[in-house]
Symmetry: none
Subunit: 413 residues, 2 copies
């Protein structure tokens, strides 16, 4: 089963945005055993879109287009698709009613531009978009399926997950493919690859291991294909267990779990509450924790102590400590933990202070020097990181490390 | 002048990496007035690469390929290019000598695989790669140029900057193209489209307007092509001014500016400091503010008051207020601002309390009900949002709205 992806829009062609949609869609299709044989980014002119559709339809069973469905008049994808199929366009009252209702809920009125948005090619099968105003569109021509989706990532993802993938599974006979993803944190790709090599070298030919690194985390995805889903699933689980036995302390979960949810589950399981005291991560650690629905069960709050005054006044860091060791020091992060425990009255607190960069370093403490501490009323553990100069990467990586420190602290108790 | 980019390699097609090279190359070409009319990502098989080259050469003056030049045996780009041009391949002693010297410097020895890497198509014009072992390759066929570059970003960027762009400027008479992007916050795409329609309808044929929406923000990009850069830039500026006059209060900046940086600049300009008191945004607002390097000049810190106890104890919200109006209320966010101003001693504070979802709503206050307040010692302004059920989108959208409230509050002073 071959798929081609088309992204429509000049913003990719002038380099204003990076095409992350295609990578995500390609991942999802691969998980279903659908091979992506090409990705085309095309201008939003009728000629360019038509050429791309012709090329894609000629070489694939499935064509997925994103972008070019908004209410403004530079969006001509829909009209071009109708012309490609040689059909007219009709007003879809259902889509318009949804837009009117949606706008009413927000106390606003739909405009003339929204009415134009409701004209649909006559051969369309509309896909309900619960995250936005533009529905997805599904077309079939002989044995090929063409899908057109909005380019806004969360709308596209919703439509892929709840509409497109289920319909593709129904429409095409896909050979069974089974995946198991082992989620790790705390070591880099090459160290993990070396550690699990004995198992990787023993994999049968119908099984593959892929390393998917992200900032501070590495996912190990085992995939197996075969005739009998039952059997390949059993074989996959065996190999997964063998890998787990080689790196037990690095594994925080499986498949779609996240580190922030895994830490939340541990806190609930142990009946503990958490607070953070953040300097250089500036709230990103608290954001990761609170991105989990229901985190209010264990997360009480944070002090974002960006200035030293807040470190002193709210968290009770001693001025002598700041003078003698500096704000980026083991002593300071320890006192920040003590302060957060006392002020926010939680069982556990985690603190961070560092130089996120890209400027602000000194010979002693270059950019990327970061101290962390985690502790409770009886014990405080610290850790120093020495990172690069990329500010956002440092903030993200440090927050992941902080969550891992909380995880290990909880597991040791 | 039309260009097509081709990226070779399965890692993009399985979604393992996002293609950032193409966005960067597209930016560079656009700055030179070269229009990128398509980007093709293709598998590293001979058939797929050949098809892509044929398509690209047929539709463009310039084709730039990246990837598929490394020393591993799945890299067949070079042989495919030679076959496409119908030429043989010869060993290039100069390239081999460079590799040997490079390896000697690191105390290593070049391998047989490196020797294979030195066979080059007979019609190539080699581009010296000072950042790696694989040279860039420049080919010409009639009026079309084909360039093949390594996929490693810093090698590709070096070759583009020092070899490809200078040679392209020599080789082609480039027509100027000018862009201007107007950045807005506070209204959706369709409302803005309606507001600026008079100008959009008056645009000359050499000028285009595109709407690029993101969560809570819409970018309006004007592009113009023509003979004389001076003249089109002037015409573009005129049209930009006309658009600005229609939506002055929505515009926070131009081109590569960000909202968080614009608010930071305003705070510096007015000499004011800022703190946040966040409930449902859980630190994301503070993260947006501190994602800007140098934000410590105006951002002091935050209280993330996820539990009501922290709202009461740290921010001084009255228990009567919480009992009578609830944590998600105008009264509570007002008291949170007062508390943050007092506790963190800043000129301005912004507070947020709401139900981010997807659960936790009541008939009175459904999921997506969010209150915001911004204020200083003399005045507090509040705002209520009624959003959907997508937790992360609500958090992001609310943080953007909060920044916009700070921006407007500062502008009114």
């Amino acid at each position: 089963m071959q798929a081609t992806l088309i992204t429509v829009g000049d913003e990719i062609l002038i380099g204003q945005i990076v095409d992350t949609n295609s990578a995500w869609i390609a991942q999802q299709l691969n998980l279903q055993g659908i091979n992506v044989s090409g990705i085309i980014s095309t201008s939003d002119t009728k000629k360019a879109i038509t050429t791309s559709i012709e090329q894609a339809m000629a070489q694939s069973d499935i064509v997925i287009m994103t972008g070019g469905l908004g209410p403004t008049k530079d969006d001509i994808t829909k009209k071009t698709i109708a012309d490609y199929f040689g059909v007219g366009m009709s007003f879809d009252q259902g889509t318009y009613d949804r837009i009117v209702r949606l706008f009413e809920r927000f106390g606003r009125t739909a405009t003339e531009a929204h009415k134009e948005q409701c004209y649909m090619p006559d051969n369309v099968n509309l896909l309900l978009n619960k995250k936005g105003t533009a529905p997805g569109m599904w077309f079939e021509e002989q044995n090929t399926v063409l899908v057109s989706l909005p380019g806004v990532p969360y709308e596209m993802k919703y439509l892929m997950e709840y509409e497109v993938l289920p319909k593709l599974k129904e429409r095409f006979p896909l050979a069974p493919i089974v995946h198991q993803t082992i989620l790790t944190v705390g070591e880099g790709e090459s160290i993990i690859a070396d550690a699990v090599r004995p198992v990787e070298d023993s994999l049968p030919s119908n099984m593959k291991l892929a390393f998917l690194p992200n900032i501070g985390q590495v996912r190990l995805r085992l995939s197996a294909t075969g005739e009998d889903e039952e059997i390949i699933r059993k074989n996959l689980e065996e190999k997964s267990k063998e890998i787990e036995a080689l790196i037990p302390e690095l594994i925080f979960g499986f498949n779609n779990q996240t580190l922030e949810a895994a830490v939340g589950d541990l806190l609930k399981e142990k009946g503990k509450t958490l607070s953070t005291a953040e300097s250089c991560t500036g709230g990103y650690l608290a954001h990761m924790i609170t991105s989990i629905s229901g985190s209010s069960a264990y997360f009480i709050g944070s002090i974002i102590a960006y200035s030293n005054q807040v470190k002193q006044r709210q968290l009770g860091v001693q001025s002598e400590t700041l003078e003698k060791y500096g704000a980026v020091s083991e002593q300071t992060v320890k006192e920040m933990v003590i302060g957060a425990l006392k002020l926010l009255k939680t069982d556990i607190a985690i603190s961070v202070s560092g130089i996120a960069g890209p400027t602000g370093g000194t010979p002693d403490k270059p950019v990327g020097t970061i101290w962390l501490a985690v502790g409770d009323a009886t014990k405080i553990e610290t850790k120093k990181l020495q990172l690069g100069k990329d500010r956002l990467k440092n903030i993200h990586y440090t927050s992941v490390q902080a969550l891992n420190m909380v995880r290990k602290f909880l597991l040791a108790r």
